[in-house]
């Protein structure tokens, strides 16, 4: 590997990482501020302008907090669990292209952690891995409520993961018809959503070519599934204070607890980014190349990506302010009796429709 290539990889890794962390810190603040607005409170207002440094202040505070390890814990697993929770959360975001690739000399710089050809499968794998962090944290704590919380979290995550995967398959089948052959690469999926639906009918020439329109049902299923997958309200039974105290991380304190907290917010952002990439076209959008200065038209895709992702992140916060928590049996009923059959049925309908377009009707 030559030095410029190495530099590009280092650049991609570091910039993606920094972007993820900065955005997560802002998200924690944004959630508190938005919730406060929705509940007619002021919210954080002291640290920095509009309290924007509140998260930083909280983080600094946690550095100085004692991290008590109870006597009954399984020490090895107890120490390993925060890593297992947060590393997959980081790795998920890696697959998301957050800007249009550009050229430096004759090297292409993709604004994305890495473009694996199995990108979507990698995301599914990593979101499964994140369950281990939760299970081991609850199990190793040697305490009843964390154990219950962990079992609940696992059952919930695996239930909604099935629906999430099936919604993804519908998108993959559809994407395969939009270009040369099928693909699981996130960069390629975005590439195929650039432009408009103008080729179908001139009326649609102002409608962007997002998967959202043909795959709207899959989008709704995916959205519900990612809210459940990240254990957010109204699916936050994992940390239902009234019955389970703090859930699986009750026995964690100080910086070790902060790792679980960080993982939750990293997951919210990455999952929203994936939803934006699969259904809302990721960075795709008009860049006005030629009529705007190069720097502005070059950074517009990144801005589009952030706007789309934040639209979905906002839905997360909105849901939390609006909906009461589900009961556990309602959660399981929704997952297995509504969402999975709906996802399977949609997959069949959408695939048969695509089959008619690609292969023609069987009787013709």
């Amino acid at each position: 590997m030559s030095w410029p290539e190495f530099g590009i990889i280092a650049f991609r890794v570091v910039v993606t990482f920094v972007l993820l962390l900065v955005v997560t810190v802002i998200n924690v603040w944004a959630e508190r501020k938005i919730l406060a607005d929705m509940q007619s409170r002021i919210g954080p207002s002291r640290a920095g302008p509009w309290g924007i440094l509140q998260t930083v202040a909280d983080g600094l505070k946690l550095f100085f907090k004692e991290s008590v390890i109870p006597r009954k814990v399984e020490l090895g697993m107890y120490l390993l669990a925060p890593f297992l929770a947060i590393i997959p959360a980081f790795l998920i975001f890696m697959m998301v292209p957050w800007g249009k690739p550009f050229m430096i000399g004759d090297h292409e710089v993709a604004l994305q952690g890495a473009d694996l050809n199995i990108g979507l499968l990698f995301i599914l794998a990593m979101s499964s891995m994140a369950v281990y962090g939760v299970v081991l944290a609850g199990w190793s704590s040697g305490s009843k409520y964390p154990l219950l919380g962990a079992v609940r979290a696992t059952a919930q995550a695996i239930s909604y993961e099935a629906a999430m995967g099936l919604a993804m398959v519908a998108v993959v089948v559809f994407t395969a018809t939009q270009g040369e052959g099928g693909t699981l690469s996130m960069a390629e999926i975005v590439e195929r959503q650039t432009g408009t639906w103008g080729d179908i009918s001139p009326v649609l020439s102002f409608v962007p070519r997002w998967n959202l329109f043909p795959q709207f049902v899959a989008f709704v299923i995916f959205l519900v599934a990612i809210v459940a997958e990240t254990n957010r309200a109204p699916f936050d039974l994992v940390e239902a204070e009234q019955e389970l105290v703090g859930g699986f991380h009750t026995e964690y304190s100080g910086m070790r607890f902060a790792m679980f907290f960080l993982a939750e917010y990293v997951n919210i952002f990455s999952m929203s980014a994936i939803a934006a990439t699969l259904f809302l076209g990721g960075w795709a959008g008009p860049t006005f190349e030629g009529s705007l200065p190069g720097l502005i038209s070059g950074s517009l895709p990144t801005i589009y990506f952030l706007i789309k992702t934040y639209a979905i992140v906002f839905i997360f916060f909105w849901l939390r302010a609006t909906l009461p928590r589900l009961r556990y049996d309602q959660l399981m009923t929704l997952g297995w009796k509504r969402l999975i059959p709906a996802a399977l049925t949609w997959l069949v309908i959408s695939t048969v429709a695509i089959g008619f377009r690609q292969f023609g009707a069987p009787w013709s």
């Binding site: 290539e5 991609r12 890794v13 570091v14 993606t16 990482f17 946690l62 550095f63 100085f64 004692e66 991290s67 008590v68 006597r71 009954k72 890593f83 947060i86 590393i87 980081f90 790795l91 890696m94 952690g113 890495a114 473009d115 694996l116 050809n117 979507l120 499968l121 599914l124 499964s128 305490s143 009843k144 409520y145 154990l147 079992v151 695996i158 993961e161 099935a162 995967g165 398959v169 089948v173 018809t177 052959g181 099928g182 699981l184 026995e251 100080g254 910086m255 902060a258 790792m259 049996d329 399981m332 009923t333 297995w336 059959p341 399977l344 069949v348 695939t351 695509i354 089959g355 292969f359």
Partner: protein, 121 residues
Amino acid sequence: MSPYFESYLTVGAFAALGVVLVLGILGVASILRPDNPTKAKKLTYECGVDAVGSGWSQSYIRYYVFGLLFVIFDVEAVFIFPWAIILEDLGVFGLVEMLVFIGILLLGLVYAIRKGVLQWE
């Protein structure tokens, strides 16, 4: 180096950076924070009241059934993703084949629902 290995190398670098970052944060915290465990502090917190009995509790057998069902749907994903990618090459035969597969899967789910194993009571 081929782009294939290069992208996996990037994934490795990213994971390593993540581990280093978490280790760094926890390391710095362990230097800065006070550390004076007492006997009372090292008790299991649970819910604030002194814990009764062992740290273990029984959980509902239903969770196990859901675990089994999940394995079925996860294995299904293993079959269905490759199929989704090469659907165009497989043609009508591949399409019908997978419809039969999904049909059997749906039938199984309906059977599980009718049997009441997904009932949470």
